[in-house]
């Protein structure tokens, strides 16, 4: 049947696109290792990695820089970008809103408030942990407050896409106001710390940073992929989804909890990194459409690639590099507008 073959051909093209982007991401990862104060070229980095894997290390200093300093940053950039873009794709499809992203529910502002409180109060909050872990734990805990509010709300009232967005915005305003209050009363040193957390950075990443967010993201990401059909059906609207055997309210609650959890797991380490969650899925839609089975992995790969490249640019800008959150937004905004214009021309959405 010609029609069916056309459909299968399209599916094969979509998987090929995802594969090519994944390979590009790996190449970009090795490329990212060559960027920094200590000059190394692409081939050298590749050789250092091979030498490290084969246990034949010739230059200990270069090996340490590439494997222990730059590689975890690159790997974490991919994880963070993938998580934010995957979360964005899920939120947009489920809430049927092109402006939704993982931060829509106030996850990032919650994390910022948690971290700010930890910075202001120091280790008085949790005396058994060191400062950086207190910030991470507080940021993680506070970033899950909005989803907890939505879950509590759902016991009393029905939850719709619009209500979720409105609750998220309301939470964002409350959290931002409290952060402002803390900043007004904070000392200059504390203010600088809150500010640096606010703009988002990957510069502090080490191999110890990666296992927890990676583990949470893999579990949540796998469940979201397993739910791709119901996420897809949700795009038809809640009444239609209901009539096709999907409970819209339950689905929204389960999926936003998963998205919040994995976003909180990365944001609590990096601070707020904007635009990846919004732009990543839209770039993916431009190439492969909105069918969730392909959109979710494609968004994750594009998000990872985007943040990796943004991090490369952040690191070549200035002696100490700029925060990746700033670069991501500076590249992300024009790219987003370009995509909107391009997609309008292609009538990709109304």
């Amino acid at each position: 049947m010609a029609g069916k073959q056309d459909y299968y051909r399209t599916i094969h093209k979509k998987w090929l696109f995802i594969l090519v982007c994944s390979l590009l991401m790996l190449v970009a990862l090795v490329f990212s290792l060559s960027i920094g104060m200590y000059n190394l070229d692409f081939v050298e980095c590749y050789r250092i990695l091979i030498d490290h894997l084969t246990g034949n290390i010739t230059d200990i200093y270069a090996d340490d820089i590439v494997v222990n300093t730059r590689l975890p940053i690159g790997v974490f950039a991919i994880i963070v970008g993938a998580v934010l873009a995957l979360g964005g794709a899920v939120m947009q499809s489920m809430l049927r809103n092109p402006l939704a992203d993982p931060y829509t529910m106030g996850v990032s502002s919650g994390a910022l408030l948690g971290a700010s409180i930890a910075i202001v109060l120091g280790n008085g909050v949790m005396p058994f942990f060191n400062d950086s872990w207190i910030r991470i734990i507080m940021a993680f805990g506070f970033s899950l407050i909005p989803v907890a509010v939505i879950l509590i709300f759902s016991f009393k009232r029905s939850v719709t896409a619009t209500k979720i967005i409105l609750i998220g915005i309301a939470m964002m305003y409350i959290f931002s106001a409290v952060v402002q209050l803390l900043m007004i009363t904070a000392s200059e040193e504390t203010l600088a710390e809150i500010y640096s957390w606010r703009v988002g950075t990957l510069a502090l990443t080490t191999w110890e940073t990666i296992p927890i967010p990676l583990g949470i993201s893999l579990v949540c990401g796998a469940v979201l992929m397993y739910h791709h059909r119901r996420i897809n059906v949700m795009m038809a609207g809640s009444k239609s989804a209901h009539s096709m055997g999907v409970d819209p309210e339950k689905t929204i609650l389960v999926e936003i909890t998963l998205v919040s959890l994995m976003t909180a797991a990365v944001v609590c380490f990096t601070g707020t990194i904007g635009f990846v969650g919004l732009v990543g899925p839209h770039i993916a839609r431009l190439f492969i459409g909105s069918e969730s089975k392909h959109l979710l992995p494609a968004s994750a790969v594009i998000g990872g690639l985007f943040l990796l490249l943004a991090n490369c640019i952040a690191r070549v800008s200035g002696e100490y590099g700029l925060p990746v959150g700033v670069i991501s937004a500076i590249i992300g905004c024009p790219l987003f507008i370009f995509i909107l214009v391009k997609m309008r021309r292609k009538s990709a959405w109304n």
Binding site: G237, K239, S240, S243, G245, V246, R285, W349
Partner: protein, 274 residues
């Protein structure tokens, strides 16, 4: 298959919409629900597929209460074609229709599901749109795609909320005829809301006229479409003539018709430019 609605009531906030609806319908047949705006036509079909829960009364399908059937199993029995389609994001027609296979889908069923999707697209004469983006289509094409999505659920009851409202007269007739034929061929109870009384009367087996939250008239089209019922429910004067054994409504507006509305032959507000 048999649908039994027993004394259902429903209201939004404190405003009652359905007051006491009782109905016993067997398939296969095309059943049209008519009535003025706001009388509860959509609310009634939403109570059948559990989108809304009646505050009183029960809905049973083949002896099972709909509240006792899992949502996925209910979706295998009852399909729904909404009034308007959601097209926020780009999705191909095949992917849009494939959503309807969700209640039946397994991880190995794609090939079989695609066969059903393409058969349905062919049946509705829209196979040429298969790989087009849904949001590039006209409103009429949207309605046909939505109908295809409802049909691939392979339901025993198909609920349609004004399925021909955006179609031209040819396609209105074509789609309604397809619904009538499908009800017989596939043994489906098709329940359609319609504002086009003549199309509904031409193709329906049974008609239900709703008014003020109650069933005002029910029966064969000739029993429901009478000038007395139309006057009582719509407050419109009309003549009903017979067309091939079915009623055909001609609307009258005595006040307007009594005016001298004929335009002078040589004066037109707009002329064709040559």
């Amino acid at each position: 298959m048999r649908l039994v609605i027993d004394g259902i009531e429903f209201g939004y906030s404190s405003v009652p919409v359905l007051k006491d609806i009782t109905l016993d319908a067997n398939g296969p047949q095309l059943l049209s629900i008519i009535g003025p705006n706001g009388v509860g036509k959509s609310t009634l079909i939403h109570c059948i597929n559990r989108i809304l829960s009646p505050t009183k009364g029960t809905v049973m399908i083949d002896g099972d209460m709909v509240n006792d059937i899992s949502l996925k199993d209910l979706a295998k029995k009852v399909g729904y074609v909404p009034y308007s389609a959601n097209d926020t994001f780009p999705l191909s027609v095949v992917d849009t229709v494939l959503m309807g296979r969700h209640p039946h889908a397994t991880y190995k069923s794609l090939d079989k599901d695609l066969d059903i999707v393409y058969d349905t697209l062919r049946l509705l004469d829209i196979e040429n749109l298969a790989m087009r983006n849904f949001n590039e289509l006209s409103a009429g094409q949207h309605q046909k795609v939505m109908l295809a999505r409802g049909l691939v659920q392979q339901p025993e009851i198909l609920l349609l909320d004004e399925p021909t409202s955006n179609l031209d007269i040819k396609h209105q007739m074509e789609v309604t005829r397809i619904l009538r034929d499908l009800s017989q061929e596939k043994d489906i109870l098709v329940i359609m809301i319609s504002h086009d009384l003549n199309i509904a009367a031409k193709y329906s087996d049974t008609m239900i006229m709703l008014f003020d939250g109650l069933i005002y008239a029910i029966g064969k089209p000739s029993e429901v479409i009478t000038k007395e019922n139309i006057k009582a429910v719509y407050d419109v004067d009309s003549e009903v003539i017979d067309s091939h054994g079915r009623p055909h409504l001609i609307m009258l507006d005595e006040e307007f018709d009594s005016r001298d509305t004929a335009l002078p032959a040589d004066t037109y507000a707009v002329k064709e430019k040559r």
